[in-house]
């Protein structure tokens, strides 16, 4: 709801905007609406039963769904079965309408082609202030049964709410493929078992859901504000780490998205033992026993020492797998973890390069989590050129730990060298979803993976000769 002043301001400002309707009318007379090429490639449950090629996409660390063929010419449809790490399959729905999204974090996807060869790629996902995934897409390229190159967009949907509550509204549907029969009723059958994403009414939200962000300067005058301190709740979780009360009855603000009305609440602010207060603070709402971790969205480490100390990384990080691309994916065991700290993360004086771009060149990727702060599905990329890049604590940090150390890590832990591995680069000409522009917007830097003539990247559909 806008105030009288806001309305008056807007009306005054709008008065200066030129009216171009006549010119538009002139132009649109000669415009013939383009037929939707997208209609040709849109998936339906029925089409699943009729298509030829088969790809299984196994998502590591996240649930996944949906896909759509997007070759430049009329593409033959490809059957895609998407299976998450628990073996649950999903139906495919059209994902071509996704806006190009920002890519604050990445996760690794691997999939098998018809010949059983495992490919790996990196998907990018976004999260909302509560740490829930919102939406993302990844393009995978593969050979179909006839040996033709196919490109498919796979979308990672938002995380569904786990509990139904009164007043919820449906925004997106996911459905399980194991509920899809082979015949024409597939679509209806799938929708009957659909899971639903929900926007929860304000009155039905928990306090952390109502107030997922807090601006607070924990280093200066309590209650003071500074632009470098925006703390956001990650994962709507509790934290059991010992904490010390820093400030009581601090006011939190948010807006009811349905009414656009300002809402406020008070809460106590805590700092955690062994976590830097620049990185995270705790928020305890009245009547609650537990403390929620809120992480500074602007935090970035200045040195490798900061990175290690500010989140007690040595004791809190969990390594999942290492992805050696062509050679596959391997779990990171205790010895590997020790090697990471020995070869890659030992010199605490190394400065964060604060580079805005990721390093380029060949790399291997470790999946990392810091569950206490709700940091899941993060990556640590280790480049042949000697750089280590990670988004574990939010903003990407890049440290030059030296080529020799990187080589030593790979040799000691996995007995491989970069020469043994498929090469992975970081930039590519890409084509974004069709949202206009003539010629279309085509440039964006994304990580990609090359194997033979196959390029796999987050947004691209270019296949180099």
């Amino acid at each position: 709801m806008k105030t009288k002043f806001e309305k008056a301001f807007r009306e005054s400002a709008y008065a200066g905007v030129p009216d171009k309707w006549d010119a538009i009318q002139e132009k649109v007379r000669s415009v013939v609406p383009e037929e939707t090429a997208k209609k040709v490639v849109r998936f339906s449950a029925r089409s699943l039963a009729t298509v030829a090629a088969s790809v299984t996409i196994i998502l590591v660390a996240v649930s996944v769904a949906v896909g759509v063929g997007t070759r430049k010419n009329t593409p033959p449809k490809a059957e895609i079965t998407v299976t998450d790490e628990n073996g649950v399959s999903y139906t495919l729905t059209d994902a071509s309408g996704f806006d190009p999204v920002t890519v604050p974090e990445t996760t690794v996807i691997s999939y098998k082609d018809d010949e059983g060869v495992v490919h790996t790629t990196v998907a990018t996902i976004t999260r909302n202030a509560q740490g829930q995934r919102e939406e993302a897409s990844v393009v995978v390229t593969f050979k179909d049964a006839e040996g033709n190159m196919q490109t498919t967009v796979v979308a990672i949907p938002a995380e569904p709410s786990t509990t139904a509550r009164n007043g919820e509204t449906s925004t997106t549907k996911l459905s399980s493929a194991d509920s899809v029969p082979e015949a024409a009723d597939a679509s209806a059958a799938a929708s009957t078992r659909a899971e639903t994403l929900r926007e929860v009414d304000w009155s039905n939200r928990t306090m952390p859901e109502k107030f997922p962000a807090v601006q607070f300067d924990p280093t200066g005058i309590p209650g003071g504000l500074a632009k470098e301190y925006d703390f956001a709740l990650r994962g709507n979780e509790y934290i059991s780490r010992p904490a010390t009360l820093l400030y009581t009855n601090y006011t939190l603000y948010n807006t009811n998205p349905r009414t656009d009305k300002e809402e406020t609440a008070t809460a106590d602010i805590y700092v955690f033992q062994n976590f830097s207060r620049k990185l995270a603070v705790g928020v305890k709402f009245p009547g609650e026993e537990k403390i929620h971790p809120y992480v500074n969205v602007h935090y970035t480490a200045q040195t490798l020492g900061d990175f290690l100390n500010d989140a007690d990384v040595k004791n809190t990080v969990h390594f999942g797998n290492i992805h050696l691309f062509k050679d596959g994916t391997f779990p990171v065991n205790a010895q590997n973890k020790a090697d990471v700290f020995k070869y890659l993360l030992s010199d605490i004086s190394i400065k964060n390069t604060n580079a805005t771009d990721r390093p380029s060149g060949a790399k291997v990727t470790l999946s990392v989590d810091l569950a206490e702060l709700g940091k899941r599905g993060k990556v640590m990329e280790v480049y042949e050129s000697g750089y280590v890049h990670t988004n574990l604590l939010g903003y990407g940090c890049t440290f030059n730990v030296g080529k020799e150390n990187v080589a030593a890590f790979l040799k000691n832990s996995y007995n491989v060298t970069f020469d043994d591995l498929a090469k992975v680069g970081t930039t590519l000409q890409t084509t974004l979803p069709d949202c206009g522009g003539d010629p279309p917007v085509t440039t964006v830097s994304q990580p990609y993976f090359v194997e033979g003539t196959t390029v796999t990247t987050t947004q691209a559909q270019t296949i180099p000769e």
Partner: protein
Amino acid sequence: MTDHQIDLWMKQIVSGDTAALETLYRQMHQPIYFYVLRLTGDPCAAEDVMQETFVTVMRKASAYRAEGKGKAWLFTIARNLTLDLLRRQSRTDSFDVLPVLPTAEDFTVRSDAGIAALQMLDVLTPKEKNIVLLRLLCDMTLTQVAKELDVPRGTVFWLYNNAVKKMRNQFAGGETHENEI
């Protein structure tokens, strides 16, 4: 105006109803003008891109899917057209356009009230100006503004309220105080 309404108008546009396009234009041309102006700082470019946006809407209408994301779709078209324009002018090679925030003098205003209104923006910090432009002039919700700027919604809310207070003070001739942010 809601995204649902845009969905309905787009249906009519697909069936060749130019009256629906005009309705959409009347409702959205000013927000799109300011959105482009925010990106380019150039009123002429804003006019051109705004015009081209609606031509593109007509051309791409059949590709539109009624999913309640009409406004976002329109802004995406405008953004992509702006990027094309900037690229042709060799001003950027990057997808991430840095906003060139306009001053009151940059606006093509046709009324004294308009000039006065836009002069109020000059008391704001760049961050506040960004938020006010998106919220009030581009008609985005605070949630959409937060997403556009990649800033937590609570922060946007706080900064927006601060900005409106400043503008009110300016309007009333009162003193404006420095923002501590």
